[in-house]
């Protein structure tokens, strides 16, 4: 008993009473929940900034000759938009924010393994973000979020700043990955075997190694780029013996696993939301958990499918194409399982559930176009066109961002103790769905018909569909505006949620909202999967959580 108690303590070595000062409590907090909320807020701020940049892009494309901003400014805008959305919005929100807020409570731990590391890796992130945006003052990067040299060697000083900023974000991600891996491996509550972990934990467990390993590879590529730009040490410059393709290999060796960093945690949240509101167990728990690991593993073996036109030896193209096709199988299994989970349910249509179902549909579309792109012959036609833009926005906006919205609506009560406004939420969902498809669906045929990406002006015959996309994108922006209005309104005026507004069965719903400083008065013992709705909860030792017995943890 004592052993379990200390074991479940995990961070017992660092147990100390909750700090009372504002700074130690809300600024340099060690509490994973506060840190997660810090991630959430910072990520949302960057999301607004990057969204505004996106609207600059769409406004420029309202006319075939552009003319809203100069081509150079336009290049800077979409480059920073992409980098921000990937590194400062989606990855921090899905791992740093939701991973921190939910995962430790879900495994019955008092905190993550290394709270100080956690705090540091958060505080690196806003600094890096400011560095990235400060590059606008010195000529921001222009070569897109991929920054292929030699173009990125030619570009203005902002590119070095970009490299430094992304390097820092990488450090932060790596630390988070290490932290989460140890936390999940070592600090699960007694009785929570791997086959009893909630699926969101499984998703984080599959993501952490990607964060840890892939990001470090990117760090090397960025360091080399920075050194070459600042000190003229040849790595990528062909006029000095370097190789431009080397960057592409190193970059995509990170950035393909990174797309799974950006989607697996969303998968995890969807796998929590759908059974909760369908009032039935997730269908095929083991298959979903296993497929997460399979995707993460295979994600390391497909990077060169981004380089089919770059001058890869033809025979090298085949294995990458086929492994990429194979990744479609575990992904398909997940999608089928979510669909099957709805069968025979008693589905409650909260906004979170709407977003979850929308996620499944849109991500399916994105996945299908992904298979299109993986086929070498077709990729030779559409590589570098708007077809790619459409595909990546279907998986990243229709996938990851939808997941983030669903997760926010779902977990907001757990963070704040209040529900978000459902009416506003429904408006948010439907407007977002319409605006999103209107924006990105036309890009598929725009790309196939011959519109290259990253251009400030284009073929006049495409003007209609570009205007259509731009106007839809304004609708989408309005929907996202509603989302933020909803959050701000609900923090003050939302209905009190109580500990478990959705009838959730994972551990985080069995403690007050928000959970107290060390999450649990007594560490519970787990003896089953959380998803058996007809059975009593599979936890022991939670009796005191919702009573008003004083919190003794950390008291001196």
């Amino acid at each position: 008993m004592s052993a379990t108690a200390v074991h479940a303590g995990g961070i017992a070595g660092h147990i100390h009473p909750e700090p009372q000062g504002f700074v130690r409590r809300y600024i340099f907090s060690l509490d994973h929940k506060i840190i997660g909320i810090q991630y959430l807020i910072t990520g949302f701020v960057f999301m607004i900034l990057a969204g505004l940049l996106a609207e600059v892009i769409r406004t420029q494309l309202l006319h075939a000759n552009g003319g809203f901003v100069s081509p150079d400014v336009y290049d800077e805008v979409y480059s920073v938009h992409g980098s921000t959305m990937v590194w400062l919005v989606v990855i921090p929100l899905l791992t740093g924010a939701f991973g921190n807020i939910i995962m430790p409570v879900q495994i019955g731990a008092r905190d993550v393994a290394f709270p100080w590391l956690n705090m540091i890796s958060f505080w690196i992130f806003p600094v890096a973000g400011l560095m990235l945006f400060s590059s606008f003052l010195m000529g921001a990067p222009v070569a897109g979020w991929t920054e292929y040299p030699p173009m990125s060697l030619q570009a203005g000083p902002g590119t070095s700043m970009w490299a430094a900023a992304i390097f820092l974000v990488g450090v932060s991600s790596t630390l988070t990955g290490i932290n989460f891996l140890v936390t999940i491996y070592q600090m699960r509550a007694p009785g929570m075997t791997f086959t009893r972990m909630p699926l969101f934990v499984w998703a984080q467990f599959a993501t952490a190694p990607l964060l840890m390993i892939a990001t470090t590879a990117l760090a090397a590529a960025l360091a080399a780029l920075f050194i070459e730009r600042q000190f003229g040490v040849p790595f990528y410059d062909p006029t000095k013996g370097g190789s431009p393709l080397m960057w592409q290999h190193m970059f995509w060796f990170y950035s393909h696993p990174a797309v799974y960093i950006m989607i697996l945690p969303a998968f995890g949240m969807i796998s929590e939301i759908i059974p909760t509101f369908a009032r039935k167990p997730i269908f095929g728990y083991k298959m979903i958990a296993f497929s997460s690991m399979a995707i993460a593993l295979a994600g390391f073996m497909v990077w060169a499918h981004h380089m089919f036109t770059s001058g890869l030896a033809p025979y090298l193209q085949l294995p990458f194409m086929i492994i990429t096709f194979i990744i479609a199988i575990p992904t398909g299994v997940k999608i089928f399982s979510w669909t099957a989970t709805l069968w025979g349910g008693k589905i409650h249509y909260t906004t979170a559930m709407l977003f979850a179902i929308g996620f499944v549909g849109l991500f399916t579309l994105g996945g299908i176009t992904g298979i299109f792109l993986a086929a070498v012959p077709f990729d030779l036609h559409v590589h570098g066109t708007y077809f790619v833009v459409a595909h990546l926005h279907y998986v990243l906006v229709g996938g990851s961002l939808m997941g983030i919205f669903a997760g926010t609506y779902f977990y907001f009560p757990k963070m704040s103790g209040r529900l978000m406004n459902e009416t506003l939420g429904k408006w948010n969902f439907w407007l977002f769905l319409i605006g999103f498809n209107g924006t990105f669906l036309p890009m598929h045929w725009l790309g196939m018909l011959g519109m290259p990406r990253r251009v400030p002006e284009y073929d006049p015959q495409f003007q209609f569909w570009n205007d259509f996309a731009s106007i839809s994108s304004f609708v989408m922006t309005f929907a996202i505006l509603l989302f933020f209005i909803n959050i701000l309104w609900s923090i003050r005026n939302g209905k009190k949620s109580g500990p478990n507004p959705w009838g959730g069965r994972t551990l985080e719903w069995q403690v007050p909202s928000p959970p107290h400083y060390y999450n649990f008065k007594n560490i519970p013992t787990v003896f089953g999967l959380p998803y058996n709705f007809s059975q009593p909860l599979p936890y022991k030792g939670l009796e005191e959580e919702l009573t008003d017995t004083p919190v003794t943890v950390g008291a001196h």
């Binding site: 008993m1 004592s2 108690a5 760090a219 040849p234």
Partner: protein, 207 residues
């Protein structure tokens, strides 16, 4: 106290304390190993870059650049590997509570580490001032060699400082016979630095 109240007050102080140590040691050990893994990935990426550039057309070494001096490299390597062995015995002796020999081997490790660094310094001065090979001025050879060995040298420098600190700590009795995670971590780090050099030595001097 904190621990007791945390666990139903069911456990006695010292017992709780020991289990606490066991518990947090496992966490820190895994965390440290994972840190070494990601560091290893960092080196691997640069090694990939080196091999990629090396095979990009113009033979090796590039025209106008002579081979590295194997004899000096071999000597240097043996020095560093020797420090790995002494480090191992330092930890062994600490485990067996033999402070005298621990101190001897620890200091030997630090000395050998510094000796390796000076050997590298000799190598660098020779390359820069005799062979006129520089970081930025000698194409991909200078770039890859100085970047990788520089990174490794930086790690060794940090290692020497780290071990010195550990030694001072152990002198001041920070570690006991059964609680010496700091020393374990130091040993892991130092072995990691050695093993990286096995690879670097082979790919720069021997192929």
């Amino acid at each position: 106290m904190a621990v007791a109240s945390m666990s139903h007050g069911a456990i006695a102080e010292h017992e709780g304390a020991d289990q606490l140590y066991v518990e947090t040691r496992a966490l820190r050990l895994q965390g440290f190993l994972l840190f070494l893994v990601s560091d290893c990935v960092l080196f691997s990426s640069f090694i990939f870059a080196y091999l990629y550039m090396r095979n990009s057309g113009q033979g090796w070494p590039p025209p106008g650049i002579s081979r590295l001096d194997v004899s000096l490299g071999a000597l240097n390597s043996v020095v560093l590997f020797g420090s790995g062995a002494t480090m191992h015995y330092a930890l062994e002796n600490w485990k067996h509570n033999n402070f005298g020999r621990y101190a001897f081997f620890m200091l030997a490790t630090i000395l050998l580490g510094s000796a390796f660094l000076s050997g590298q310094a000799v190598e660098y001065t020779h390359l820069i001032f005799v062979e006129h090979v520089t970081w930025a001025g000698s194409g991909i050879f200078g770039a890859s060699f100085f970047t990788l060995t520089g990174m490794h040298g930086f790690h060794v420098t940090c290692g020497v400082i780290y071990l010195t600190i550990l030694f001072l700590q152990s002198v001041h009795g920070v570690y006991t016979k059964d609680k010496y995670f700091g020393l374990t971590a130091g040993t892991l780090y130092w072995h990691f630095v050695d093993v990286i050099w096995v690879v670097l030595f082979s790919i720069f001097y021997l192929i």
